[in-house]
Structure formats: structure tokens, C-alpha cells
């Protein structure tokens, strides 16, 4: 369909240009994104194209940097203390060597010569085995304590960041509000909030911090060597040290591709498993469970093979770094120790200390290997979550926290309090603006135009029915009124005020919508009613349940209001779930109640009873009701009937 179909043949020439919707981006009118290729995609002009990339920092708490640095500093300190311990151990060996009955030539290898220019070497040189031993044990205790503190800081920080990521995701789900989940499937979002949060927190705290430490601590260990053993050796090592971060960098770079691909595939697979689990009944009835099992198995196998192929190549990095590290570090230290010892620059104890220090210098390598898994998921998962947090809500709210005028207050008070039939309340000289007004509303999904300049006016206290063929766009009107989608053009007015001026909570408090298929939360009947009115008392709930003709059913259930309704209301029948949803709507003080085919699952008797109850509510309170139904038969008690056809609304004369 051409983009210009905003001017469809059903609209008169004068209405061609719909009024610009204040809350919308200028280019959103009549502009359809090429990507929104199916019905139920986001309304045109919204969410099209890629969301902007988001700084991963938004995932975490502001303390992240401090904690990461703190853990890096403490872990580095632990390495330095361990290095000092080996220096002391070397001095102790020298002490033994001097005391031993070996030839004086051998014993001389245990004495520090004058040619040694390490500034602090003489400080530990004379240390005897007795004092040296106690000093070394004290250093061991200090290194252990530092490690304990470092581990504690890291794990506590991980727990904190994990909680933060989870909270961010849940609150973003609510901020974005109802959108079509065709692209961001809920399995994937749930995986982000659970597995994903754990993975990125572990990555940030357990990988980034220690990585930092693994870059810094070798340098400091080399400084210890320069100060206590031999500065020439230290200088040569310093040249070799950059190999460590370079190798880590090479590692990360080499695995980015694998991690990205395998993460996407793993997550898609997790979503597919959720989908399959939720559709188990259908699969069984279609005799397709085994087929689905094979399909999932085949997808998993494909995924596995491609990851293994990539790993076969990428793991060569392990081979290379491993070889380079051991060869470079151990050989270099061994050769330097031998050469400097033979030259008489360092003592035998110092030579041994150098070799043992190889373990401290090699620790980063061991860590890089064991971090493989954390790093594998970490970055890629982080990008995925950041992208989700970067998605924008399909509707944006205004700044007014409430309507300018109470929609239910009247310019004139009806003094005849007993006569409350709906008709009598709409007096001819009522100067109030209509409660709800849609003007020239244009709305669609992708290329599909559903509303083509729809006009609708509902006055306070009315009960208006909206009919139309299946798929004609009736539910789209409900979605516009509940502000979960924004029309591409036209105006939405609540009590005469532009609805886009209102904040989203305020706009959504204006109406209570009973959906075509109700979502019931797992928990009790009471929990589900609390969603609509957290402060409702038991009495309020029973009144609402009574009005929705559900009270008797609930009384029959074990536990009454505390009866569990089960996941997606599985223990309630379709009709009961729907009536619970109606009770929920009645508990709010929304001026407008929208019933979107609520009775499609309810038998005729309870449907009539519910409609009668709603009429009673219309009469006894200030509620206004918009009933959406494809069945005109059920709607005999309404004030007006409107028909939606080809995207426009017309009044049905009866």
C-alpha cells in the first residue's frame, strides 16, 4: 500500500490531513517503516529501525567503577605481598646455604655480593631462617586476608549489580508498556532478567576487576624484583610483561564473534523451548510433540556444530598464549636466574625466588583461561540487555498529572436524586465536554491501515456499544483509549483535554479495560484484584465480585478470596476469568470502563447478567461504559450503537 493512503476513499476531501498529534514525532504521519511487516507490529512510525546503541553503564549502579577498582587494588596488593613472601623465602634459603657444611665456594652463593645494585636487597639479605620464617608466615597471613577482602568485595558487588540489572529490566518492561512482542519475545526478555543479569554482573565484577588486576599486578611484581633482587632482570621482564594484556586482548577479540553468535542462538533456543512448553497441550493434540522435539533437537545440533567449528579455530589462541606464556615467562626467568647467579650478581636464594615468582606472574594466564565462560557470555549479553533497555515506549506521556477538570462534576447538579436512569442524566443544556472523544483518528500496524479517520464521542454516563466485523479494528480503539498505542493522526480527548498532555499513569487511570483475553497473575483471587486497587478491602472486593456475578463461584472455591487462580488463570474457566477481570475493572475509580469483547467466553445467561450489572453501575455511579462486541444481540440495553467498518465509525440507527 502506498504511504499516501492516509487519504483513503472513505474520507471526504476536507479531512485529508489529519490534525497533527501533539505527542508524536513529525515524520510519523502516513509513514510506514519497511520493517513493520505484519499486523500487530508496532503502529507506523514507532519503533521502526534499530534502537540506538546504549552505553552499558546504564545497566549498573554508579558504585560499579569504585567497586571494580577496589577489588582490583586489593587483589593486586595480595599479589605483591605474595611476591614479597618469595623474596623473604629466598633470603631464608641463603641463610641455610651459608650455615650448611658445603664448600666455602658454594656457601658464598648465599651471600649478597657488592655488585648487586637492587636498592632494598640488603634489607632482607641478612635475615636468618628463624626470623625470616616468622616474617614469611606473617606475609602469608596478610596475603590471605587481602584475598578474603578482595573476594568479599567482588561477590558482594556482583550480588548488588545483579539486583540492579534485574530491577532495571523489570522497570523497563513497565516503562515501555504493552507492545507487540513479536520481535522481543518474552522468553528472551525473561532470560535477560534471570540468566542475563547473573552473567553480566559476574562479567563486570568477576572479569573486569581481576582483568585489571592481572594487568597491574605483574608490573608491581616486577617492581618488587627491581627493588629486592635485581633491576636488570626486572627491566628485561618489563619488556616481556605487555605480552600478558596483549594476549588477554587477543583472547577477547578472537572470541567476540563466537560469543555473540552463540549467545544469540542459545537465547533464541531458550525462547523456543519456552514457546514449546507453553504450547505443550496444542502440540499433544496435534500429535506434534515429537516433531517439535526433533525440530528443537535439530536447531540445537546446528547451533552446537557451528559453535564447535568456530571454537576449533579460536581455541588455537589458547594454544598460542599458553605456549608463549610458559615459554617466555618461565624460560626467561630461569635463564636470567642462571646467568645472573653465575655472574655473581644475585644469590642462590634470589635465583630461586625469581623462579618461584613465575607462578605469581603466570596467575593472570590461569585466570584468563577460567574466565573464558564468563567473558563468553558477558559482553554479548550486556549488549543485548543494553539494547532492550534502549527500546522506546510506543507512546510518550505528557506532563499533566491529572485532568484539568473532574470529568464527573457537573455544571448543574441534578436535584432529582432518585431518578438516575442513564438517559435522564444527559440533560440537553449540559455544557460539559464529552467524556471521550476521538477525532479523525488514523491508526494502523505496519502497512495495514485499520482506522481511517475514525470519530467517536461518548458523554458522561452513557453506555455506548461499538460493533464491527472480526478484525475490523475494534480492539485498536481500546488500545488507543488505554494509551498503549498512539494513533498516527487525529486527536484523543479525555473530558475535552488532549490525552497526550497527561502523564501515562494519569491517562491510563482514566479508563479500565477488560481485555478480550484476560491475563490473570498467578496467586490468589485477592492478589489479582489488588492489581486494580491495592487498598481495596474484602468488602469492596465482594461488592465488585457480586456485581461481576462471580461472588458465588469464589465462595465455592477452597479459600474464597485466597483461592489460587493458577498460571494464566488455568484453574478458572474462561468465563470465570473474564468475570474476575470485570470485577477488577469495577474496583478502580476510572471514569470510563472499556469492555473489549469480555463476554465472548461467557454463556448468554451470565453475559446478560453482567451487562445488567454494568447498566446498574452506569445508573448508580458516574461510570461511562464503552462495550466492544461483534454481536449486536447482546447489546440491547445500551444508549447508542456505533459500527466500525473500513476504518470509520458510523452510528447505527435503531
Amino acid at each position: 500500500m502506498p504511504a499516501s493512503n492516509a487519504s483513503s476513499p472513505h474520507r471526504r476531501a476536507g479531512e485529508n490531513t489529519p490534525a497533527k498529534h501533539p505527542g508524536q514525532r513529525p515524520n510519523s504521519q502516513g509513514h510506514t517503516p519497511s520493517g513493520g511487516g505484519h499486523p500487530g507490529g508496532r503502529p507506523g512510525g514507532h519503533g521502526g529501525g534499530k534502537p540506538p546503541t546504549v552505553d552499558p553503564a546504564i545497566l549498573y549502579t554508579p558504585q560499579l567503577r569504585t567497586t571494580t577498582r577496589l577489588s582490583a587494588i586489593i587483589l593486586t596488593a595480595a599479589s605483591v605481598v605474595t611476591a614479597l613472601l618469595f623474596v623473604v623465602a629466598g633470603a631464608v634459603i641463603d641463610g641455610y646455604l651459608v650455615k650448611s657444611g658445603a664448600t666455602s665456594e658454594i656457601a658464598s652463593f648465599g651471600t649478597l655480593s657488592d655488585t648487586n645494585q637492587a636498592p632494598l636487597a640488603s634489607l632482607v639479605a641478612g635475615i636468618g631462617p628463624g626470623f625470616g620464617g616468622w616474617l614469611a608466615i606473617a606475609l602469608a597471613a596478610l596475603a590471605a586476608s587481602l584475598t578474603a577482602v578482595g573476594v568479599w568485595v567482588t561477590t558482594a558487588g556482583t550480588a548488588r549489580e545483579e539486583a540492579q540489572v534485574r530491577t532495571r529490566i523489570v522497570s523497563h518492561i513497565l516503562d515501555v508498556g504493552p507492545v507487540s512482542r513479536a520481535s522481543d519475545r518474552s522468553g528472551a526478555i525473561v532470560a535477560s532478567a534471570t540468566d542475563g543479569a547473573e552473567r553480566v554482573a559476574a562479567y563486570r565484577m568477576g572479569f573486569v576487576g581481576p582483568s585489571l588486576a592481572s594487568v597491574v599486578s605483574p608490573v608491581l611484581v616486577v617492581v618488587v624484583i627491581a627493588l629486592f633482587i635485581d633491576w636488570v632482570t626486572a627491566l628485561i621482564l618489563l619488556v616481556l610483561i605487555p605480552v600478558i594484556p596483549a594476549a588477554i586482548y587477543g583472547f577477547q577479540k578472537a572470541f567476540r564473534q563466537v560469543s555473540g553468535r552463540s549467545r544469540a542462538q542459545r537465547q533464541a533456543l531458550a525462547a523456543d523451548y519456552l514457546d514449546a512448553l507453553q504450547g505443550l497441550t496444542t502440540l499433544r493434540l496435534m500429535r506434534a510433540a515429537r516433531w517439535m522435539q526433533e525440530r528443537l533437537a535439530a536447531a540445537g545440533e546446528r547451533n552446537r556444530r557451528s559453535v564447535m567449528r568456530l571454537l576449533a579455530v579460536n581455541q588455537v589462541v589458547i594454544l598460542v598464549t599458553d605456549a608463549v606464556f610458559f615459554l617466555v615467562m618461565v624460560s626467561a626467568l630461569a635463564v636470567l636466574a642462571v646467568v645472573r647467579l653465575q655472574d655473581g650478581i644475585i644469590t642462590a636464594g634470589q635465583a630461586l625466588a625469581l623462579v618461584l615468582l613465575a607462578t605469581v606472574l603466570l596467575e593472570p594466564l590461569a585466570k584468563v583461561g577460567s574466565f573464558f565462560y564468563v567473558g563468553l557470555g558477558g559482553r554479548a549479553t550486556e549488549r543485548g540487555i543494553a539494547r532492550f533497555l534502549g527500546t522506546r515506549a510506543p507512546v510518550t506521556g505528557g506532563s499533566s498529572p491529572s485532568l484539568r477538570r473532574d470529568p464527573r462534576s457537573r455544571t448543574e447538579i441534578l436535584d432529582d436524586g432518585e431518578d438516575l436512569a442513564p438517559k435522564s442524566r444527559i440533560s440537553a443544556d449540559d455544557t460539559r465536554p464529552p467524556l471521550l472523544e476521538l477525532r479523525n483518528v488514523v491508526c494502523g500496524y505496519g502497512e495495514l491501515r485499520v482506522l481511517n479517520g475514525a470519530n467517536l464521542t461518548i458523554h458522561q454516563g452513557e453506555h455506548v456499544a461499538l460493533t464491527g466485523h472480526s478484525g475490523s479494528g475494534k480492539s485498536t480503539i481500546a488500545r488507543i483509549v488505554e494509551r498503549s498505542i498512539a494513533p498516527e493522526g487525529g486527536d484523543l480527548l479525555f473530558a475535552g483535554q488532549d490525552a497526550t498532555e497527561l502523564t501515562l499513569p494519569a491517562a491510563r487511570a482514566f479508563s479500565a479495560v477488560v481485555q478480550q483475553t484476560t491475563y490473570l497473575f498467578s496467586g490468589t483471587v485477592r492478589d489479582n484484584l489488588h492489581v486494580a486497587a491495592p487498598d481495596a478491602t474484602d468488602d469492596d472486593m465482594w461488592v465488585a465480585l457480586e456485581a461481576a456475578h462471580l461472588a458465588a463461584d469464589i465462595r465455592d472455591m477452597p479459600g474464597g478470596l485466597d483461592a489460587a487462580v493458577g498460571e494464566r488463570g488455568m484453574t478458572l474457566s474462561g468465563g470465570q476469568a473474564q468475570r474476575l477481570s470485570i470485577a477488577r475493572a469495577l474496583l478502580t475509580d476510572a471514569p470510563l470502563i472499556v469492555l473489549d469483547e469480555p463476554t465472548s467466553q461467557v454463556d448468554l445467561a451470565s453475559e446478560r447478567a453482567i451487562i445488567a450489572a454494568i447498566d446498574g453501575i452506569v445508573a448508580s455511579t458516574d461510570r461511562t461504559v464503552l462495550s466492544i462486541s461483534h454481536r449486536a444481540s447482546a447489546l440491547r440495553t445500551v444508549d447508542r450503537v456505533l459500527n466500525l467498518r473500513d476504518g470509520i465509525l458510523t452510528e447505527v440507527t435503531r
Binding site: G133, A159, V190, T282, L311
Partner: protein, 566 residues
């Protein structure tokens, strides 16, 4: 502990194909670590030898280089085979778990929370995978490597030094991990439970977002989120404190053991019973030995987690299905078949009242029967029992004269197709969703089924036609389109009985009428059982049954219509 262990053994039986790669990975790991110790020992001994005479430096470097290259190759093989085990075990466990969960459906889906099931199916399997890929080999090598290294060291230096080192290694590998063992186990168990709870909460946040924001329930909902996450944080911090204490003890014991070996060796050096080279070798081997056992406490924690994960998985997958196929299934006769209920009584597991009470009805082959009743009256339960979601408590249901519990479930469901109120649409294209009913259906057949269901025109109106992807729960289709897609799906099967549960409830009267006529024209001899709450649907039916509080009575269409309240 024993339950965890037996659960792990049980899971091992389902990943047998990873056994040899696992052995390979373990052997390579042992060689790799022994070589690492040998390299350090060679370097230390080489340096010490310089004291007694000239050291051939090129030879030392070549020795180290050869050892290093061999080590690198073994490490590569260890890593690759380790990953092979990881991905293969993950894949096999997932397929296995799914294959064991679906035979319990539909009955098991009514009780288990699917969000929780997902955590179990993926998260727990991930944990068990960690056990196979990253726990077994390190634990074995942590035992084997020190034994090899210290035996060699004891033989080349002094047995006493080897025993000192062995005591330290034993403390790190076996004693320290018991510190706070029970507390850690409690924390990890409660952590797993809370993670499941949070997964369920996250699922509801996504799926129920329209209700949450529609009713402005954001704040209490976020408060619940905060509560759940702070409970998890509390557990994690407790675990963290214990881990920190263990790591500190490990490090202290490691360094102290090295110092003790050094001290005892030094005394022997003074006495002249040990050379400097031997002392260097003993110290280096002792230090290097600990790197093989260092990670043991986190490995044991993994082992424990894997054990409880395997235990939970075992519980889920070993639940016997509510119904099972008979050993020698009967076959429903070909051609049009009738349906009969005889004295059927059924109570849902855990329910107080009977859902169906002594229900009897006969529907002739090729008839159009209508079952009317209020919502919650038990009419959908009748359909579920006919499709054998559950077995009846009393009475017999038969199709074509064969009791349904004597027929294989797949055969029964091949002959009896059901369009349910809660048909699930998978997150796939429309064509793929239709092909679930018959994977080999041609596009002409898909189109024919959709034409009968009055859906074809809607589908060609979509930008991608039959390739349009329908979202999770088929959200992107209207309620009426969803119902018609479910019907089209049923029409692709060769069923002779169609159970249509409220299949036109979201359709307008025109469309519903067209669907009904087209269905009858397409399947002239099929038995059609319509379950509805609309009395007017009874018009033109061959037989009408009214369901009330689980009891079934046969009535006429006129009687039903007379009760329509005005």
C-alpha cells in the same frame, strides 16, 4: 548428598555419548598439569645447579621449550574436548528433558508453572552441563596430579618433604571445603528456589504488562521486584562471605606449606643430607601442586549445585504421565465414527467437587451435536476427557465403539481433532503454525484449509501472506483470526470427529455462519461436536445436550432456545 549423587549418576546415564570425550579431556588435563609442575621444577633445579657448576643454558631453554609445546598441545585438546562435552551434554539433556515432559501433557501443564519449568529445563540443565564439562575432569585431576607429582618428588628428594606437602594439599583439597559446607548448601538451595520465583515473576511482568500499567500497579509491582531481588542479594552475600573465608584459608595453607617444606629442606641442607638442587625442586613442586587443587572448593560448590539441579530435573521428568498408552492398542475403525459417553464421572486432581457427574451421551457418526452450558458447567471437561487429557474416574468414553483408553493417544487424536479455547500459536509463521498439524502439507492444502476457515482472505491481506510471523501466543492476530487459524489447523488433519470448543466465540454472526457452512461442506461425513454457551448455535443440530454442574441431559434445540433470557 546421597540424593544429589544418585541424581547426578542418573543424569550421567542420559549423556553417555560424552563419556569418551570426557575421558580424553581428563587425561589431557592431567598431562597438562603434570607438565606445568615439571616445567617449574626444571627451571628451579636448573637455577640451583648453577651453584655447583656451569649450566648449559641453551639445553635448559630447549628442554623448557619442548615441555611447553607438548603442554600447549595437551591443553588445546583438553579445552576442545571439554567444550565438546559441554555443548553435547547441554544439547542431549535438553532434548531428553523435553522428550520426558511432553508425554505428561496436557495434564501436567495444568499444574506446573511454566516459568518455573523453564528455569528447570534450561537453568538446571546448564548447571548439570557445568558438572560434566567443567567439574568432573578438574576434580579427578585434583586427586591424580598431586599424587603423581608428590610421589616423584618424594623419590627424588626426601619422603618426609613429600608427606609435608601432601598434608597441605590434603587440607586444601579436602578439609577446607568442609568449612561452612552446610550453610553454603542451605544458601545455594534457597538461592535456586528464589531464582525460580524470580523467573516466574519476570514472565508475568512481560505477559501481564498491559494489566499492570493499565491499572497503574507499577509501584507495588516494582516493590515486589525489589523484595525478590534483595532476598537474592542476601543469599549471595552469605555465600560470598563463606567463599572469601575459604579462599583465604586456602591461600594461607598453600603458602605455609611451601614455607614448611622450605624450612625442613633447609635443615636437611644444613645437615648435608639434601642438595640445594633437591631443595629447589621440592619447593617448586610443592608450590606448583597447589594450582591443581586450588579451585577445588568452587568445584565442590558446582558439584553440589549440579546435584540439586539434577535432583529437581529428575523430579520433573520422572513424574508419570496422567495417561499412558495401552500395551496393545486397539484401533478405531476407519470411516465416520460416533462418540459415546457412558456413566462418566471425573474429579480434577486435588479438587473437591466432581467436574463431571455420571454423564452419558450418544452422538451418531456424521451427526452435528451441540453441547450447551454455562461457563464452568463442565462442558470443556467433557471435551478434554474425550481427547483423553485425563482418564475418567468411572464410566467409559468410546469413539467408533472403542473405549478411548484402549487406543493409542496419537491415534485417538488423529481421529478426533480439537479446536480449543486456548489454542497456542507458536512464534513462527502462519504456514509453520498450520504445518504443526501436518508437516508435509502443501501450500495448496494450507490454502484450502484456510478457505474453509474463512481465513484465507485475511492472510493474503497481510504483507507477508502465509509467511507472516505470529508473535508469542499469536498476539498479533485478532481473537477471531486466532480462532479461525486454530480451526484451519485442525482441518489439515484427517480427523473424523471435530470437537469445536467455543470456536466461533470471537467471530461475528455472519462469519461464524460462513465458517459453519464451509466446514460441513468440506467434511460431509465428519462428526462435529460443538461446545458453546450460545443457545442459538443449537439451531439445526442433530442432537443437543445441556451440561449443568457436570450433569448432561439431552434436550431439543427448541428447549434450549426457549430458555434464552430476554
Amino acid at each position: 548428598m546421597t540424593t544429589s549423587f544418585s541424581a547426578l549418576l542418573w543424569s550421567a546415564r542420559h549423556v553417555r555419548s560424552v563419556l569418551w570425550p570426557l575421558v580424553l579431556s581428563t587425561v589431557c588435563r592431567i598431562v597438562d598439569q603434570v607438565l606445568a609442575i615439571a616445567i617449574l621444577a626444571t627451571a628451579a633445579a636448573g637455577a640451583a645447579r648453577a651453584v655447583v657448576g656451569g649450566v648449559d643454558v641453551p639445553r635448559l631453554v630447549i628442554t623448557l621449550a619442548v615441555l611447553t609445546l607438548i603442554k600447549a598441545v595437551f591443553r588445546y585438546v583438553e579445552q576442545y574436548s571439554g567444550h565438546y562435552v559441554a555443548f553435547k551434554a547441554l544439547e542431549e539433556l535438553r532434548v531428553f528433558a523435553f522428550s520426558r515432559v511432553w508425554p505428561g501433557a496436557p495434564a501436567n501443564t495444568a499444574s506446573a508453572k511454566t516459568g518455573d519449568l523453564l528455569t528447570r529445563m534450561t537453568k538446571d540443565i546448564d548447571r548439570i552441563e557445568v558438572f560434566f564439562a567443567h567439574t568432573i575432569a578438574p576434580v579427578i585431576s585434583a586427586v591424580v596430579v598431586p599424587i603423581i607429582a608428590l610421589t616423584w618428588m618424594g623419590m627424588t628428594t626426601s619422603p618426609v618433604l613429600a608427606w609435608i606437602a601432601a598434608a597441605g594439599v590434603f587440607a586444601v583439597a579436602a578439609a577446607i571445603p568442609t568449612v561452612g559446607w552446610f550453610a553454603l548448601q542451605r544458601a545455594s538451595q534457597s538461592g535456586a528456589g528464589r531464582r525460580g520465583e524470580f523467573a516466574q515473576f519476570a514472565t508475568e511482568s512481560v505477559q501481564g504488562v498491559r494489566e499492570i500499567v493499565g491499572y497503574g500497579y507499577n509501584k507495588p509491582w516494582l516493590e515486589r521486584s525489589t523484595q525478590l531481588t534483595s532476598d537474592m542479594t542476601h543469599d549471595a552475600r552469605r555465600e560470598g562471605a563463606l567463599t572469601a573465608a575459604r579462599r583465604a584459608l586456602t591461600q594461607f595453607v598453600t603458602l605455609t606449606t611451601v614455607l614448611l617444606v622450605l624450612g625442613d629442606g633447609g635443615a636437611r641442607l644444613v645437615r648435608g643430607t639434601l642438595s640445594l638442587e633437591q631443595l629447589a625442586l621440592a619447593t617448586a613442586v610443592t608450590l606448583a601442586c597447589f594450582s591443581a587443587v586450588k579451585a577445588i572448593d568452587s568445584l565442590l560448590a558446582d558439584l553440589d549445585r549440579a546435584g540439586s539441579a539434577a535432583h529437581r530435573l529428575r523430579l520433573v521428568v520422572s513424574q508419570p504421565p496422567a495417561v499412558s498408552d495401552p500395551e496393545q492398542p486397539a484401533v478405531i475403525p476407519a470411516g465416520p465414527v460416533g462418540v459415546e459417553f457412558n456413566g462418566v464421572t471425573f474429579t480434577y486432581p486435588g479438587a473437591r467437587t466432581e467436574a463431571v457427574t455420571h454423564a452419558s451421551l450418544v452422538i451418531q457418526a456424521g451427526a452435528r451435536a451441540v453441547i450447551v452450558g454455562r461457563s464452568g458447567s463442565g462442558k470443556t471437561t467433557l471435551a478434554h476427557l474425550l481427547l483423553r487429557y485425563w482418564d475418567t474416574d468411572a464410566g467409559v468414553i468410546s469413539v467408533g465403539g472403542e473405549p478411548v483408553n484402549t487406543v493409542a493417544q496419537d491415534d485417538l487424536r488423529a481421529r478426533v481433532a480439537m479446536v480449543s479455547q486456548r489454542t497456542h500459536l507458536f512464534a513462527m509463521s502462519i504456514a509453520e503454525n498450520l504445518r504443526i498439524a501436518r508437516p508435509d502439507a502443501s501450500s495448496t492444502e494450507l490454502q484450502a484449509a484456510c478457505e474453509v476457515a474463512q481465513l484465507h482472505d485475511d492472510i493474503v491481506g497481510f504483507p507477508d501472506g502465509y509467511d507472516t510471523v505470529v508473535g508469542e501466543f499469536g498476539e498479533s492476530l485478532s481473537g477471531g483470526q486466532r480462532q479461525r487459524l486454530a480451526l484451519a489447523r485442525a482441518l489439515l488433519s484427517d480427523a473424523d470427529v471435530f470437537v469445536l470448543d467455543e470456536y466461533t466465540s470471537s467471530l461475528d454472526e455472519d462469519t461464524a455462519g460462513r465458517v459453519r457452512r464451509a466446514l460441513r461442506a468440506a467434511r460431509v461425513h465428519a462428526t462435529i461436536v460443538e461446545i458453546t454457551h450460545r443457545p442459538q448455535d443449537a439451531v439445526g443440530a442433530d442432537c443437543v445436550f445441556r451440561v449443568d454442574h457436570g450433569s448432561v441431559t439431552q434436550v431439543t434445540a427448541g428447549e434450549v432456545l426457549a430458555t434464552v433470557p430476554e
